[in-house]
C-alpha cells in the first residue's frame, strides 16, 4: 500500500530523497533503465524546485500580511511634514517676511492642521494600497496552491491506479501459479497411481 501517513495530522516533512551529486541525473541501471531514470528525474526536479524556488515561494507566503507600505507611509508623512515646515521657515527668513505673533501662531496652526490631514490621507492611501497588494498576492498564491494540490492529487491518483493494477495482476499470477502447481501435482499423483 502507498504510505499516506502525512495526509492527515501533523505537518508533514518532505521525505523525498535529497540529491547526492551535482546536477547530474544518472541513467538507471538494471532491467528497467528508463523507469529508474524517470524516477531519478522526478526526484531531482522536485529537489531542484525546492532549492531554486522554495525560498521564493516561502517569502511570498510569509509576506501575505505585510505592512511595510503603511509603516513607510507613516515614517514618510512625519518626515515630509518636517521638511515642509523647515522649507516654509527658510522662505520666511529668505524673504525677510516679518510676522506678528498672531500671524505666526495662525501659520503654525495651519501647518499643524495641514500636516495632520496629509498624514491621515497618506496613511489611508497606504492602507488601501497595502490591502490591495496583500489580497492580490494571496489570490495569486491560492491559484498556485491549487496547482500544487492538483499536481499532488494527480500523481497520487496515478500511483494508486498502478498499484491497484499491479495488485490485481499479482493476484491473478498467484492464482494461475497455484492452479498450475495443483494440476501438475495431481497429474504426477495420477501417473504414479496408474504406474502402480
Amino acid at each position: 500500500m502507498l504510505a499516506l501517513g502525512n495526509i492527515t495530522g501533523t505537518p508533514a516533512t518532505t521525505t523525498v530523497h535529497a540529491r547526492t551529486d551535482t546536477d547530474a541525473v544518472a541513467m538507471g541501471t538494471g532491467k528497467s533503465k528508463a523507469a529508474n531514470t524517470l524516477g531519478n528525474i522526478t526526484r531531482d526536479q522536485w529537489q531542484h524546485y525546492l532549492q531554486q524556488f522554495g525560498g521564493l515561494e516561502q517569502q511570498l507566503v510569509d509576506s501575505r500580511n505585510d505592512q511595510s507600505l503603511v509603516d513607510s507611509a507613516a515614517t514618510a508623512a512625519i518626515k515630509q511634514a518636517r521638511i515642509g515646515r523647515e522649507s516654509t521657515a527658510r522662505d520666511i527668513s529668505r524673504y525677510s517676511l516679518g510676522m506678528t505673533g498672531a500671524q505666526a501662531n495662525t501659520l503654525a496652526r495651519t501647518q499643524q492642521l495641514g500636516d495632520a490631514t496629509n498624514t491621515a490621507q497618506s496613511m489611508n492611501t497606504a492602507r488601501i494600497d497595502q490591502r490591495d497588494r496583500n489580497m492580490t498576492v494571496m489570490a495569486d498564491l491560492m491559484m498556485k496552491g491549487r496547482g500544487v494540490a492538483s499536481s499532488g492529487i494527480d500523481g497520487l491518483g496515478d500511483a494508486a491506479s498502478t498499484e491497484a493494477s499491479r495488485n490485481a495482476q499479482n493476484a491473478q499470477a498467484k492464482a494461475a501459479d497455484k492452479a498450475n502447481k495443483t494440476s501438475t501435482a495431481i497429474g504426477i499423483i495420477g501417473l504414479g497411481v496408474m504406474a502402480f
Binding site: G39, R43, M138, A139, M142, A159, N170
Partner: protein, 194 residues
Amino acid sequence: MGGGGGGSQVQETEAERANAEVSLAKWNRYKDMYRGVETDFINQVSQDNSALLRGRAIADVAQASDGAVGQSVALNNGTVSGLGAMAKNLGGARMSGSVAANKQDQLLRDKGRLNALGIGQDMAVDARQGLGMAARASHQEAVGKARAQQMENQSRVAAIGQVAGIASGLHGDYKEYMKKNSNTGSFGGWIKGS
C-alpha cells in the same frame, strides 16, 4: 517482473515510487504552505474597508477644494454671497464620494469572495476527480482479484474433476477385478494384482 510469491509478481518500478513520493510531498506542501493563505484571504476579503475608502474619498474632496473659499470670495467681488453654494457643492461632493466608496468596498468584497469561492470549487473538483481515480483504481483491483479468485475456483473444480476421474478409473478397475474374481477377490488382492 520478478520472482517471489506465487508466479511472476509485478514489482513497483522506481518511476512509480518516485511519482508517489513526490506527489505526496507536493500534497503536504500545499497543506502546510497554502491552506493558511486561503484562511487569511477568506478572513480578510470579508472585512469592511468602507471607512478607509470613505476617508480617502473625503480627503480627496478636501484636497481638491483647497482654496475654494478664497476663490469664491474673489469670484463674488469680495463678498461672501457665493459661500453658501460653495458649501453645498462641497457637501454634495463629500456625500457622493462616500457613497461611491461604500459601493467600491462592497464590489471589492464580493469580487474577492467570488474569486475565493471559484478557487475553492476548482479544488473541490480536483479532489473529486482524485477520489474518482482512487475509486476506479480500487474497482480495477477488486475486479482483478475477483478474476484471480475465479481462476482459483476453476482450478479447484478441475482438480476435483481430475481426482474424480482417477478415482473413477480405479473404481472401474476394482469392479472389473471383482467380476473376474468374484469368489476369491479382495481389496488387498486387487491392490497386489493391479
